[in-house]
Amino acid sequence: MKKSVSLLLVLIMVFAVGSNLVLAQTDEVTITVWCWDPAFNIYAMEEAAKIYKEIAPNVKINIVETPWDDVQTKLTTAVMAGQTGTLPDILLMQDNALTKNVTNFPGTFVDLTDSGIDFTQFADFKVAHTTVDGRNYAVPFDNGAAINALRLDILEEAGYTLDDFKDITWTEYIEMGKDILAKTGKPLLTNVADSPDQIMAMLQSAGVWMFDEDGDVFIAENDVLKEIVEIYVEMVKSGVLVQVNDWEQYISTINRGTAAGTINGCWIIGSIVGQADQKGLWGITNIPRLERAANASNYSNQGGSSWVVLSSSKQADVAIDFLAHTFAGSVELYETILPSSGALATYLPAGDSDVYNEPHEFFAGQRVYADITDFASKVPQISYGVYNYEARDAVGTAIAQILAGADMNSALQEAEETVKFLMGP
């Protein structure tokens, strides 16, 4: 009995000393990253890891595939329970949730303002989304510049070209939409019901949001929002826009050719090019603009995400150095990931690269990446705010009520009160 105990002790000591030695020799560091899309951000992270391997061979990047909803749930649970040790070193955050998380969980994310990363090299609107109270909290990643993607063959059938849709107003868009519907039987636009993404993109195109500069709710008295609601209702009533129930149905309207086009963040290209037999049939242009709104433009943003570093990380300095040398410093990285994944950057130096000026054969030889980079530089800046998700849901509910026949002003008033209540003490 005694013998076996002492033998065990000796074994434990040998292992303990041995593993210490191994650690001391290689000094290996593992950086854990949470992101969600194997064809897109996970792929980009893998390529970044390859580039950093040449700079710091002892650093291993461990990517854990985690869908965004899970990232948010795990983050909230870990921070609320004080178990930040369960979090990774770096995670990918949706831009529209960044202000919310940074504000509600103070001290959870590393302030990158003085980390040496040059934020002036990223598109202005994107840096605005990742800045809270003047401090930078994330390395910007993908581009969500809004595009109007159209089926050239359906337009031709109705006697239109892509150029007819460039720099137009929503009124002109609806007029052409009605004509195309009459001639081809196809709507110009489809959208997921109850999901106000389209409304949000239209708001940003005029540099307006559901909150004012002081962060107060700005829904009931928001004339830009009212103009947008009127346009949206007219599109649905006239059949120019068809609402579907979920994302799969939305994608199928694009891929099956039941709609003549779609307006969304430029990442929608990834879903468009999935339909190989539609090669050469698509073109992109900028989105229509509002008429009454003061700062109306033909440019907006929809979606997008950025890399944040967690304060709980024991190797936060390594994580920052990794991001500085890859996503915030390597044109080569963006040149590698663009052709195979369509991952458009907001890193401006990458836009000058030849890869960005290549014609895209799926889009009939159009230089789509150069066009989108140009759109991205003109997107109006806004701040999403802490209560963005509350406001989104409330406005989405109001739109559904208005489409079912409710009065616009009272529905928006109700939405404003709902958001005010949720923001209340």
């Binding site: 948010q72 749930t73 909230t76 921070v79 609320m80 919310k100 504000t103 509600n104 969980f105 103070p106 019901a193 109850d194 609402q243 579907v244 129930n245 979920d246 799969e248 149905q249 802490v386 209560y387 998700y389 509350e390 849901d393 509910t397 559904a400 009520q401 079912a404 109700e414 009160e417 709902t418 209540f421 949720l422 209340g424 003490p425």
Partner: protein, 293 residues
């Protein structure tokens, strides 16, 4: 005498030894979190900035339109769906209890089978079946029952009907099993006597089966009430609370408050305790009404 005492003590210790690990687990992972959640419900604030505020959260509830809306929704489901489901389960159980029925085992299994499916996957399948270009619309159109597809999930009442149909499909078999078990305990001679006395099948069902099954009907009613008030998976995946919050359940509202909106854990905990209280009150009423012993 002393030996008997010793033996009893020994047996007691062994008995506790078996019960203790499970009891401890239940206490640590069940009762302790419930107590902590109750404490949490007296704290208010956003994110990690929580402070004690007494009954403030419970007061705040009274002015919360989304909470009232979601509570109204689950009561609509409760009032419509639970009676339909339980009646259907009773009828099916008494049909399948017939000893002369062929393929009885097959039918029992087939009706119970939906309970073995995952809540999320069946909700997603129902969503695709009731899509605008889905299976249900295709069948109805081909049978010329409707001229144009119905937007089931896009309108408040049709969306609620879809949720009710889905819930009934998923849970009828589950309740039927309880009734079948109960029916096994009813003496067949009672039915024989009733038959000789000239009672119709209808009479037998309402005068014998239902009264004899009363305790089990009570049990299933309480379980279904509890389940419906805590409805989450189905509405989350089938309709996502839409359109315009017409199918938003209380649990989904709690989820939004905790994980999608700026997190208010204290307030969310208060709502869950209101649901807890409601379930307790409803169960109490049902027991007073149903239990006539």
């Amino acid at each position: 005498m002393e030996r008997v005492l010793k033996l009893r003590r020994r047996q007691n210790i062994i008995g506790w030894g078996f019960v203790l690990p499970a009891s401890l687990m239940i206490f640590i992972f069940y009762f302790y979190p419930i107590a902590r959640a109750f404490v949490l419900s007296f704290q208010t604030g956003v994110g990690v900035n929580l402070k004690y505020a007494g009954l403030f959260n419970y007061q705040r509830l009274l002015a919360d339109n989304l909470f009232k809306k979601s509570l109204g929704n689950v009561f609509i489901f409760l009032i419509i769906q639970v009676p339909i489901m339980l009646l259907l389960a009773l009828v099916l159980a008494s049909l399948l209890n017939d000893k002369n029925l062929r393929f009885r085992g097959f039918f029992r299994t087939a009706i119970f089978l939906p309970c073995a499916t995952s809540l999320v996957s069946y909700a997603i399948i129902f969503r695709s079946m009731f899509a605008l270009d889905g299976f249900v619309n295709a069948v109805l159109t081909n049978l010329s029952l409707i001229s144009r597809p119905i937007n089931w999930i896009g309108q408040p009442w049709t969306a609620r009907i879809v949720v009710v149909i889905a819930l009934t499909w998923r849970w009828t078999g589950y309740n039927m099993i309880f009734y079948l078990a109960g029916l096994q305990n009813i003496e067949p001679s009672i039915y024989e006597a009733a038959f000789i006395d000239g009672a119709s099948g209808f009479d037998q069902f309402f005068r014998i089966t239902i009264p004899m099954l009363k305790p089990i009907i009570l049990l299933t009613t309480i379980m279904s009430t509890n389940g419906t008030l805590q409805l989450f998976d189905e509405t989350m995946n089938l309709t996502n609370g839409g359109p315009a919050n017409a199918t938003l359940s209380v649990s989904q509202y709690i989820y939004r408050l905790s994980f999608q909106y700026s997190p208010r854990f204290g307030y969310a905990a208060a709502i869950s305790f209101v649901i807890f209280a409601l379930v307790a009150v409803l169960a109490f009423i049902q027991m007073r009404v149903g239990d006539t012993r």
